[in-house]
Subunit: 341 residues, 2 copies
Amino acid sequence: MHSGPPDPSDASATPLPPALCVLGLGLIGGSLARAAAPLLPVTGWSPSEATRDAARADGFAVADSVQAALTAAVRDDALVVLASPVTTFRSLLHEVAQHAPRTRLTDVASVKTAVAEEVSQMVPRARYVGGHPMAGTAASGWAAGDPTLFDGAAWVTCLTEDTDLADWSALAALALRLGSRVVPAEAEAHDSAVARISHLPHVLALALAQVGAQGGALALSLAASSFADATRVAGTRPDLVRAMCETNREALVDALDDALGLIGVARGSLASTGSLLKLAEGGHLARGRFEARDTGLEPMTLQGDDLIEQLLAVGAAGGYVTGLAGLGADLRVQARYPIES
Amino acid sequence: MHSGPPDPSDASATPLPPALCVLGLGLIGGSLARAAAPLLPVTGWSPSEATRDAARADGFAVADSVQAALTAAVRDDALVVLASPVTTFRSLLHEVAQHAPRTRLTDVASVKTAVAEEVSQMVPRARYVGGHPMAGTAASGWAAGDPTLFDGAAWVTCLTEDTDLADWSALAALALRLGSRVVPAEAEAHDSAVARISHLPHVLALALAQVGAQGGALALSLAASSFADATRVAGTRPDLVRAMCETNREALVDALDDALGLIGVARGSLASTGSLLKLAEGGHLARGRFEARDTGLEPMTLQGDDLIEQLLAVGAAGGYVTGLAGLGADLRVQARYPIES
């Protein structure tokens, strides 16, 4: 790695994909279509006729069928984005294998190992780079879409030693143009991380909402911002929560075991000695680490034959990509990375 | 109970306490002093000289010692508010017993049974009405005080069959003037409720913060609003969290057992059958009940010999007090109460 500022003399910007084909127009897909439309040609598709009509009424190009969407994607060399719930991917990939077997392909699912396996089995020649924009709200549906949803969000882009960096850089360039921090990661590392910081929060929120409601009307009437904030994601549609949690089962069980261990020990300590010391101090320190996560990151430029390894090291250390320049063997990546002092 | 709108012809407003003496000038005490100062004479005190100086510099009357504060409170017939951490109450009540044994007295602690027992043992002749404004942030200290903190918040006011309604109504009138919804409750019902909707969220937030941090730099860099919101209260000072959770040990252990049961069953179901159906749907329904808690409340007027029972019924049903009129046997209470249709 080479430390230093981005090279301002660089004239060859890394290109966006020629076009975008968004399959699924819910919160994420609908936001992506809206955000990308000013930058490149976008075609959308949804299995719901009402959603297709709503997107058309808002001025977006929408295909009548997934086959038509994929045929157009092949013609335009579009990046196809699987943006529907992960439980629908198998049937979508069946269509991709038939109509666009060599397409540029990404997805926005919150699990990456299972999707990568499905893609490699069903569409082995697709130019697939898994993605996961860490943006969302409890809302869902086309109408909830927001073109600024990705601004400031982390957008995980998956790399393996076999990834074609041209495919990766096209996806990364798009995510950067939408304002995201691009985080390179291996699929398994991603799944373990999101089990802890996204799927586990859903499980705890769902449990907390129930324990609160079991306290009856008085408990609910006293609930203030700590309860409201901690149960907010329990408002997410249950089928969406199940789709992401159940698909990431192995990593989530590990995270649940860690949580059950900590809570169980705290319960035992409180009941026996009356003290919550260990959890109170450990949790407070951990929250401090979260709040300080963006401090100590320094700009640096990555390039060279081992660029994939360098990119994965940046993501694993809590860093992220901020810019791209050049192409092919000349690809240079600007990143922010924690420099040990 | 008599259903119907408040009586607009009533001319005798229920009076505020003649003065206020706030012992402890942290987030809650400091906010209370600021909010009440336009309404009645307020004297504050803090064990910290720096805090006393800061409050004086902001134009507030501050006693040099707790003895001086209590002597002035007796002279002014002030309502004395214990607004310091609950772990300090024993030493404060020792001073109250010596210098103001018959004072009007309330507190703002998030546990009510233990405090009521301590008060009845140490200051048995005090005119005590336990209180708990359900307002707070992760911030603490005089500088964090905010006169609008109580606006729209629930303010629990404790009642027993022995409560003097004149003492209760003076506290309730103050809370109403500060914009709070006044929720009458028995101390034990309060403690059970807040274990579920306030203390348990702290424990879960502390555990989640640790499980997230155990995922390393990648996990923390991917954490988005669901993790940030769900761990927010882990930023609270550990000694304050311990003070409230450990003082409400029995009710919190019950709530923890309910949570551990739900999470443990969900973990088992996910690991064995791969399904999170039950928790996902149950938690979503429970969150819906929380979001709908304010619907279906209708205004009504309470009065009569069994007013204490009526008030407790309102609080237990998720209702709250919105206004007071009259005095003594003529005390009339406007409330919002869920009317079964």
